[in-house]
Amino acid sequence: MKKVMSVLLAIVVTASLNAQKLTIKGSDTCLPLVQKEVEGYSKKNPNSSITVIGGGSGVGIAGLIDGSVSVAMSSRSIKMEEKQKLMDGGKTLKSATMGFDALAVVVNPANKVSQLTRQQLEDIFTGKVTNWKEVGGDDMKIVVYSRESSSGTYEFMKEHVMAKKNYAATVLSAPATGAIIQSVSQTKGAIGYVGLAYVEKNVKALSVSFDGKTFVKPSVDNAKNQTYPITRPLYYYYVSTVEADLKPYLDFALSAEGQKIVKEVGYVPVK
């Protein structure tokens, strides 16, 4: 009896050692993509166990720093101070790009305005411009929706479009991308931003220009050929100690099959 038990125990222990246990945590923008990638990977490698958790880019990277997770997904590049904290903890950071996401600026479908320049967007989100007639629309107050400050989208918009200026205090913040779509679709003077994959028919995506001359519509093709300016890379950040465990998964995610999933979910493939 004892023998049988110890054999069973040995089997259980070795089985659990063989299975990779990895947790990927972070950006809600990356979440749908990484979930699909992990699904595809697990089908081919039934032994693997990878858990994916959302919460925001900042949450994932904070997890890397305090050691609660070994892989973070992020919709913004890691900040200098975060990198420093990691180094202070004696960890070596590695990264991989999983794909690109284009950020679409959306307005209510009834809005006459269909294109804006970067400067105009900055003025709107910092509260300098408050009426649509100042940017070529009807005489109507602009209602600005933003994501919560934990969102990588929030930081990306601030750094990439608003020249690092702070949002106006009057900006309404929505707890989720779905809430922004819902609010913009039912508020006439609304403007907000969402990931390209989330754009629906009940909101209108604006063409954007960073040079003030050529306006480009947000689409997967325009993001891929780099003509659409509000595009951002999505990253995996991980500590060097899990590199060996993570490698098979990363190879899959960057393979032709993995990149096909990127496209299916609505993001822009790396290759």
Binding site: D66, M80, M87, S149, S150, N166, A169, S173, K188
Partner: protein, 406 residues
């Protein structure tokens, strides 16, 4: 002999049960106390801290005549609302803001070193050769190399926290930690909620206690009690999809996410408490009193207004206050519908933000032990004190009720 043994066994059993009760009571009390101590320990440690992130120093060139700067000025500088030193009392020179993140635009990665080991030298060099510089660097980035001038900044105080008008906790480099808009938002939304919930709740309670037939009561009451079992996020989304557009159309507003929408959703959520508690209070009115009133020729309505409501007044007040307590502390429902804008509200028809919603939305993101984290705990303390006051009032009213009954 046998009966003696039995008695001993019984004694032992009773003592055992008493022991378990005592232990669970003590454990609960200790747990609650620990949570409160933790909350206040983290919250209070915010005060006396610099509004800048840990160990960040403000560096300027020796030629700069200023000696101090405020957090609000730093934010305005990084927002480019202030671009020249003379706007804040310095010399006529444009301000060049440099933090560790901008350093890479002045020096190449090679110059800074693989492990950033040359950063202190470069910071010192840059500050020395740039008269208009405003450098924000942590002591780690300075090492012992820094030889130029520092500016001082006022620490966060209880006063600046409670009465500050700007809440930009993630603003870099200088966070703005003023919670006045949040306190006022919480009060507006809760006050509005109780304004809706109280009349409707009491009316429903009177109906259930005195007017409705037995069968009616047995159907309606479980349904009302069921309301409190619905997750609050469902109420929130219901509010966003249904109530927000109605408010927008009704008042011809630019935006429907307002304090009013929050009040209505919270009123719906507070109703079960108010109805159940005040109905129970009304039903404790002694039958003799009711019958005496009716026997004197009073109508049923007169009996309700003159006998039942006065008798159960303290119970109704307690119901109202429990309802407010629920409204003040509610999170997920309001996060969807109030618009979450950090501005000081002047009417209920404006977007506003409440304390619990801020904590829920932001606590997930903060780096543990940081200044934003502490500020959220300090917000928790403020909320705790607000609900504590509400609880004191409830206790006062309950003690008054006992006095009445004697």
């Amino acid at each position: 002999m046998v009966s003696n043994l039995n008695k001993q066994l019984k004694d032992f059993k009773e003592r055992f049960i008493e022991g378990i009760l005592m232990v669970s009571g003590t454990v609960t009390t200790v747990a609650v106390l620990l949570i409160i101590i933790f909350l206040f320990k983290e919250g209070v440690s915010l005060f006396g801290k610099s509004p800048l992130e840990n160990n960040i120093s403000i560096l300027v060139n020796e030629k700069n005549p200023l000696t101090a700067i405020t957090a609000a000025q730093i934010k305005d500088i990084s927002d480019q609302k202030i671009t020249n030193w003379k706007q804040i009392g310095g010399a006529d020179d444009s301000i060049i803001l440099v933090t560790i993140n901008e350093l890479s635009t002045y020096y190449t990665d090679d110059q800074l070193g693989d492990n950033l080991q040359f950063v202190p030298d470069k910071v010192n060099e840059l500050v020395g050769k740039t008269p208009g510089i405003l450098g924000l660097f942590s002591t780690k980035n300075l090492g012992d190399k820094y030889t130029h001038k520092y500016l001082s900044i006022k620490d966060i105080t209880i006063g600046s926290f409670l009465f500050g008008k700007q809440w930009f906790p993630t603003a870099t480099p200088a966070a703005q930690m003023g919670i006045l808009p949040l306190i006022l938002g919480t009060l507006w939304v809760s006050f509005g909620a109780i304004l809706f919930a109280l009349p409707i709740g009491i009316a429903a309670a009177i109906y259930l206690a005195e007017i409705a037939g037995k069968r009616m009561r047995n159907t309606i009451k479980p349904i009302i009690e069921l309301l409190s079992g619905i997750p609050s996020v469902v109420f929130g989304f219901f509010g966003l999809v249904v109530i927000v557009p109605i408010i927008q159309k009704l008042f011809h507003l630019d935006v429907g996410e307002t304090g009013l929408a929050g009040s209505i959703v919270l009123a719906i959520m507070a109703l079960p408490t108010i109805i159940t508690v005040s109905e129970d209070a009304m039903r404790t009115t002694p039958r003799l009193m009711k019958e005496a009133s009716l026997a004197l020729g009073a109508t049923q309505w007169q009996t309700i207004v003159r006998v039942i409501i006065p008798y159960s007044f303290s119970g109704i007040s307690a119901a109202a206050i429990l309802g407010i307590g629920r409204a003040i502390g509610e999170t997920m429902a309001v996060i969807f519908v109030t618009g979450s804008a950090n501005v000081i509200p002047h009417t209920l028809l404006q977007p506003m933000h409440t304390i619990p919603a801020v904590i829920a939305a932001e606590l997930g993101e903060v780096s543990q032990g940081g200044r934003h984290y502490k500020a959220l705990f300090a917000l928790g303390c403020v909320l705790f004190i607000m609900t504590f006051i509400v609880n004191l009032i409830v206790q006062y009213i309950f003690s008054k009720r006992k006095h009445n009954q004697v």
